[in-house]
Symmetry: C2
Subunit: 201 residues, 2 copies
DNA sequence: CCTACCGATCGGTAGG
DNA sequence: CCTACCGATCGGTAGG
């Protein structure tokens, strides 16, 4: 049984509220009074839990990456030895989409506002971003090592293409109405075989 | 010779400055004083050219879509009759990326801040967005009609996948250092044939 | 297109 | 965790 202190509980509630508000109105569009109101405390009291607005947003950004990183890493590690490139990449794509959409307040806050943050705050989130990119590069290179991958496109370009396509789904896909697993199968099919399948020559 | 009035010139300069600032700091992160300072006039004077902050941002959003729409539509119309699906889609992809990256202040302002705008402002930009999506759906369906397209993924899903991947390039691709045409060839190759090429069965 | 200003709101702090 | 407040800044307007 985990003992959850009142302060911990409040802190989590503040972060949940902050993530959703930052996603919806941007970094500068959310005041500490907005967050405090919805989280049920007074604006000045936020400083009992956080040192500044920047610390709140930095925490939201890191959580958004960490949840997805862990989900993808765990699912890939649980695969039987020597998976086909298809199986490996399809698993990673499904896990990324499932986690991304499940924690969409945090993940889409990250995707949406990262580019418009003060440089110091952006810098604080960079290591987590780079570790996640490295995880994907390792997965792609592992698929490549199986030998059936066409070699025309380098790892970084494929990773940027694929993560860009997946992250954009935050802007239109509603997990409450759509089937995440079906979306994952379609996106994996497109990433692996494209619209046409076999190249012309 | 086009006569450009002083007021028109100032208006254009204000929009250029506003687009870049909105892209970098978000909608609420940019004050009218910030824009006026960099455009070389006083904050109150902006109201000689625009009725409100919302009118400025709405104009920036519409320009971002219109420039890309026209470029893609024109290039596709200029194609010889009966182009192959490869040629048709590769042309559209190249034009989208070239225009998107050439006008990146406007286009990335649009991509980045759309989701965090007040609902009225978002609504004003919706028709332009939907017309552009319809243009892409028509292009994809035309490629499909040639008969060599696999039918496993529907038009809307492919369009969302592809536009998501392309638009994300705004966050990392620097046209001053990279080769847009090479990026376009790689993205077209991935969209058409995927990482593996031929499907397994 | 500028000057001078309005009421409202901002992030943050002192003191409890 | 609250009350009460600080100086700074916000979008917008009147009058020129």
């Amino acid at each position: 049984m985990t003992a959850i202190s009142k302060a911990e509980d409040t802190r989590q509630r503040v972060l949940d509220v902050a993530a959703r508000q930052f996603r919806d109105r941007g970094y500068a569009g959310v005041s500490l009074r907005d967050i405090a109101d919805e989280a049920g405390l007074k604006a000045g009291s936020l400083y009992y839990h956080f040192r500044s607005k920047d610390e709140i947003v930095a925490t939201v950004l890191d959580i958004g990456i960490a949840l997805v990183h862990e989900a993808v890493e765990r699912a890939v590690a649980a695969l039987p030895q020597g998976p086909s490139p298809e199986r490996l990449l399809t698993t990673a794509i499904r896990q990324h989409l499932q986690a991304f959409l499940a924690y969409s307040d945090y993940t889409s806050a990250n995707v949406r506002i990262f580019g418009q943050l003060p440089p110091e705050v952006r810098r604080a989130n960079l290591p987590a971003r780079q570790r996640y990119e490295a995880l994907w590069d390792a997965i792609i290179d592992r698929a490549r090592a199986a030998g059936t991958v066409r070699n025309s496109v380098d790892t970084a370009t494929f990773r940027l293409f694929l993560l860009g396509a997946m992250n954009a789904s935050l802007e239109w896909f509603d997990p409450a109405r759509g089937d995440v697993d079906r979306l994952a199968r379609r996106y994996a099919d497109l990433a692996l075989h494209g619209l046409l399948g076999r190249p012309e020559a």
